[in-house]
């Protein structure tokens, strides 16, 4: 069973800090991941990262009822990223907006390379990502949690995709921008990887960076992914044993 009240276990800093919340430039916010948190879904996961609270349910592989979406040689992977109305400062009107439509699309593309879709022709695998509380970095949190939920559902995968952002705040390239840092920040670079090969399945860059800064941010985000990857695996082990 999950407890939503955050227990603030801070990750250790490797460099002296000048960030508002005391983190070093390459520190993640405190996080925790849990698998198997819902009753009805075939698989589920819950993730907290700083103030973010994200729940994911997976249904499938199951029959696809909409014929025009059906693929004769593989399953369709449909991700739906959705924010609860109470998850942000000003109440969000229910239903998809342009932002959530774009995030749903790139989330699907980020996860797809890892899933053996070809084993389930004419089927669908549905991933429902619900942001219960948002504090910067929800798209990455959603992808990281979705992989755990897919594993919990027993969907066969090449790897557990994991995502993390780096960015530029106060003139410095730093890992995992908080909402406050993102608001006044110069750039945000969300990245998803398949940790076994290091291949990149999601990459966006939003803001102004030199190519050197971009490369630094990319490397930092990949390092952040590796830390979260460990927590993903622990969550699955905790649920199923080794």
């Amino acid at each position: 069973m999950i407890t939503i009240l955050t227990n603030k276990i801070l990750n250790k800093s490797s460099t002296p800090s000048k960030r508002a919340d005391g983190r070093a430039s390459d520190d993640l916010r405190p996080f925790k991941i849990e698998a198997g948190v819902l009753e009805r879904a075939d698989g589920s996961a819950y993730l907290e990262l700083g103030g973010n609270k994200v729940m994911v349910a997976v249904y499938g592989p199951r029959e696809l009822h909409i014929r025009r979406l059906m693929q004769p040689d593989r399953a369709v992977l449909r991700c739906r990223y959705n924010m609860a109305p109470f998850s942000v400062d000003d109440r969000k009107r229910p239903g998809p907006d342009r932002r959530s439509i774009e995030i749903s699309k790139i989330t699907s593309e980020a996860i797809m390379p890892a899933v053996f879709l070809e084993r389930f022709p004419r089927s669908t695998i549905d991933v429902f990502i619900e942001v219960l509380e948002a504090e910067g970095g929800t798209r990455c949190a959603g992808i990281t949690a979705a992989s755990v939920a897919l594993a919990d559902a027993g969907v066969p995968m090449r790897d557990l995709v994991v995502a993390c952002a780096a960015g530029k705040s106060d003139g410095e390239v730093v890992l995992d921008l908080s909402e406050a840092e993102d608001k006044d920040g110069e750039a945000d670079v969300p990245v998803a990887i398949m940790p076994r090969t290091g291949e990149i399945t999601l990459l966006q860059s939003d803001g102004h960076l030199t190519s050197e800064e971009f490369e630094k941010a990319l490397n930092m985000a990949i390092d952040g992914c590796m830390k979260l990857s460990k927590a993903q695996k622990e969550a699955i082990i905790k649920r199923y044993g080794d």
Binding site: A41, M55, A84, P85, F86, D90, R91, P94, E133
Partner: protein, 267 residues
């Protein structure tokens, strides 16, 4: 999607009840385990997570300044919205609220409103011009039956947990003090008890399996004093007057017990 329940399951659940039993061994007047936490979402102004058995709802409230309705210029507005998001069950689909979801939010809304749970007059800031609007959003994340009782319990708890900024009128302008948060003016408490009719009997807090075979349903909203604030029959079969009168009597006892789950009573 049409869900077909095999006749054999219908029959077996009906027979169980006829013999005074239920699939999960509960008595007819017994709720499943209830877990209620409040203050679970920091960005909400009030929030609650409620579980009744395997059914789980996240409730969050938000306040917003708005105009009152023209026929009630001196009272605030309470708005309840629910989403049966596809996370909660394999047959829930994305899209605008369907009739089940509309009924759920409207019944929850009426129960809170008619019980006068909030002193809405205290949410008026400038008569006819500015009032507080309180949004209650029900996010159903796990569906195993009896959404109504869970929705009302979660909404009541979230409202009791809600703090809104202080609003003052200075020179005809509304000044909001985000630093000073005050609780909502709660003046009553109301909860809801739902009975399903199976095998000729009314059993409280139906599980999803029980809902799927029930012939009808009656939900009764009550205040602490045992008075009725709302009622809603559902389902494809009728009920007798006797059954309804008896359900009202039973819900008086059950509501009192349910109230113990609300925050104050715990302390």
């Amino acid at each position: 999607m049409v869900i077909i329940i095999p006749e054999i399951i219908k029959e077996s659940l009906n027979n169980l009840v006829k013999n005074g039993d239920r699939a999960d061994d509960r008595s007819f007047d017994q709720y499943r385990d209830i877990v209620l936490e409040t203050g679970v979402i920091d960005k909400a102004e009030g929030s609650a997570r409620v579980k009744i058995g395997k059914t789980q709802i996240m409730v969050g409230t938000k306040s917003q300044l708005g105009e009152p309705f023209s026929d009630t210029p001196n009272v605030g507005v309470l708005m309840t919205n629910s989403e049966l998001i596809p996370m909660a069950a394999p047959d829930f689909e994305p899209g605008p609220p369907d009739e089940r979801s509309v009924e759920l939010s409207r019944v929850t809304d009426r129960c809170m409103r008619e019980a006068k749970v909030i002193d809405l007059e205290k949410l008026c800031i400038i008569e006819g011009k500015k009032v507080w609007m309180i949004f209650v959003d029900l996010h159903i994340i796990d569906y195993d039956g009896n959404l109504m009782d869970a929705a009302v319990l979660g909404s009541m708890a979230a409202l009791m947990n809600t703090k809104i900024p202080e609003a003052k009128v200075v020179d005809d302008e509304v000044v909001i003090d985000e630093e000073k948060k005050i609780p909502l003016p709660i003046k009553e408490k109301a909860l809801m008890c739902t009975f399903a009719k199976i095998g000729g009997e009314l059993i409280v807090d139906p599980s999803l399996e029980e809902e799927q075979v029930m012939s009808s349903r009656i939900s009764i909203g009550m205040r602490t004093d045992g008075s009725i604030c709302s009622m809603q029959k559902g389902g494809m079969q009728p009920l007798t007057k006797d059954e309804i009168i008896k359900a009202v009597a039973r819900s008086k006892v059950l509501t009192k017990k349910l109230m113990e789950h609300l925050p104050q009573n715990k302390q």
